[in-house]
């Protein structure tokens, strides 16, 4: 049984259908990546998983249980944490307060201090900026904060929507290495990326999304070697 399973879901915005009957599964401990062009439906998929959008059909199961009808704020409690596209930093809260928001849904408070230590160890930059307001951080720092905040909640699966978007190369490298590091410590990750090369080379498995449909799937190395993927997403003719 997979940890997270998307079974034949369709999602609409009003009359416009953004997802057509897609299925994805994520096993415990994996990094699964979802690649696709602009407007393919990657964010729609992630927001549906987090409970911010309603399904028109199909279902989402988590740990074997159907959570399709569970409101978003309760999915966090189950252990599903989305770092949204654009990062979703609370601009008028300090770095510390943003991290604290990550623990909002936690019942078990005894591990919170330990979580701060762990996040500051992964992102020493955040420690330096602890009292600064979130809105004044650079894009890269905001992305670190967004990931750190998600980790504060000790999720079972981490959903990352384009964490490398708009970042300078050295930040992109750092973000990807953090993702691998967190995964090595046992975190399951579903990663949406346009930076297909980086994402596929770190992924256990991957899916290609085109205009709301899954058109290809396989292991990371398989898709890296796939000529069609190479041409469309890896910039190799």
């Amino acid at each position: 049984m997979a940890l997270l399973e998307i079974n034949n879901i369709s999602v609409h915005y009003g009359r416009i259908q953004a997802l057509h009957d897609i299925s994805i599964s994520v096993e415990e401990g994996e990094i699964v990546t979802l690649i696709g062009a602009n407007g393919a439906g990657k964010t729609t998929t992630m927001r549906s998983l987090a409970g911010l959008l309603n399904l028109s059909s199909g279902s989402v199961t988590f740990e074997g249980e159907d959570i399709s009808k569970l409101p978003g704020h309760k999915r966090v409690v189950r252990g599903i944490s989305l770092t949204p596209e654009g990062r979703g930093i609370f601009p008028a809260m300090t770095v510390r307060e943003n991290l604290e928001m990550g623990t909002y849904a936690l019942k078990e408070r005894s591990t919170v201090d330990e979580s701060y230590d762990r996040v500051f160890e992964l992102f020493p930059r955040l420690k330096e900026r602890e009292a600064q307001s979130g809105g004044t951080l650079s894009g890269g720092e905001q992305q670190m904060l967004a990931i750190g905040r998600a980790l504060m909640g000790r999720p079972k699966v981490l959903l990352l929507d384009e964490p490398s978007m708009g970042l300078a190369p050295q930040f992109i490298k750092q973000i990807f290495s953090i993702i691998s590091q967190v995964n090595a410590q046992g975190m399951t990750v579903l990663l949406v990326e346009q930076n297909a090369n980086q994402a596929l080379s770190r992924a256990d498995r991957a899916y290609v999304l085109e205009t709301g449909r899954i058109t290809r799937s396989g292991t990371g190395p398989e898709l890296l070697a796939d000529p069609a993927v190479k041409e469309a997403y890896l910039g190799v003719a």
Binding site: A50, G51, L52, P71, G72, H73, K74, V76, V77, S81, L82, P84, G88, I89, F90, P91, A92, M93, E97, E100, M101, G102, Y104, A105, G134, G135, T136, R149, G153
Partner: protein, 324 residues
């Protein structure tokens, strides 16, 4: 030649300190009501026009409670602690009545629209409609006249600043308003509900991703605003014993709303600053221009002037609306 408008600087000079104290007293009441506008605006981006009625329902509850406890148009003949206990009871009922009204307003006028994802203009119309419905329900029940006056205690001067006597009610109201502001400010900053309110104000979707139940935050915010309006209601009846009528909420609500905008809507500290300033400005203007009718005019002229120069209000809207 007789001018239709003239400035009586002498009167203002002679009454400056008493006008200041009185202005601050009314300002404290505006500030408490202004908080309700500001908090709801923070989480919903919506001016809850029915908040003025939330306030006046509380004032009715205060008057009814005190009347049934034997209070009336003459000073009660009771020991101070008996009076204090009765006022506390009236305060509790005022807060409850306002909070319940706020809850109902949210349920009836806004929640169904939210579920449907209605456009913002529809919320505004619903808000104004709700305000009229409550006003005319009160009118239908109590008629056009104010409730008979309720005097709470013999108001006595407590001290004297350079010939100006400072009365007990002013000290009570101004200090209570300031204390309430500090409490609310700290509550918003430190409590879990407060963090939820700020998160929803700054980014509702991300708040959901943190596990914040947005619907619950919205309802709680309305109730919090209602509780504060209930406190304002007690002080309003204290200050204006015969001011409880169906239109009373509207008249005070417009001032409180102005105060919220003046200080920076969405900003808790701005509500206090805006309220106190507006109380002062209105009172100075009224004495300078010679009659109480000028109070409102002066307030709105100042509001328009401030908004032209600084539309975000004096302190800016900072409950979270400032986006990076």
């Amino acid at each position: 030649m007789d001018q239709w408008i003239s400035f009586d600087w002498e009167a203002l000079g002679a009454n400056f300190w008493s006008a200041t104290v009185d202005g601050l007293t009314f300002g404290g009441i505006y500030a408490l009501v202004a908080l309700g506008y500001t908090l709801v605006y923070g989480v919903l981006n919506l001016i809850n026009f029915a908040h003025s009625e939330v306030f006046i329902v509380g004032a009715y509850a205060v008057v009814f409670t005190l009347t049934s406890l034997g209070f009336g148009p003459s000073v009660p003949n009771l020991a101070w602690y008996a009076i204090a206990a009765n006022l506390l009871l009236a305060l509790v009922f005022g807060m409850l009545a306002s909070a319940v009204t706020a809850f109902i307003v949210e349920r009836v006028a806004y929640k169904p629209l939210r579920a449907k994802g209605a456009p913002r203009l529809v919320f505004l119309i619903s808000a104004i409609g709700m305000s009229f419905v409550i006003q005319y329900l009160i009118f239908w029940w109590r008629g056009p006249n104010p409730e008979p006056a309720v005097i709470m205690f013999q108001n006595k001067p407590v001290f004297d600043i350079g010939g100006t006597l400072i009365y007990f009610d002013s000290i009570l109201i101004v200090s209570a308003a300031i204390i309430m502001m500090v409490v609310v400010d700290q509550f918003i900053r430190r409590s879990k509900l407060g963090r939820g309110i700020r998160a929803v104000a700054q980014d509702p979707d991300t708040a959901t991703l943190m596990g914040v139940n947005r619907e619950r935050i919205i309802v709680s915010t309305f109730i919090l605003g209602g509780l504060l309006a209930g406190v304002a209601a007690l002080f309003y009846v204290m200050k204006v014993p015969s001011g409880v009528l169906y239109l009373g909420g509207f008249l005070l609500g417009v001032k409180a709303f102005t105060a919220a905008v003046l200080g920076g809507i969405g900003n808790v500290r701005g509500a206090l600053l805006g309220g106190l300033l507006l109380g002062l400005i209105g009172n100075y203007g009224q004495i300078l221009l010679g009659s109480a009718q000028w109070n409102d005019v002066v307030c709105f002229v100042v509001l328009i002037a401030v908004l032209m120069v600084r539309p975000e209000g004096i302190l800016g809207s900072n409950l979270g609306k400032v986006r990076a």
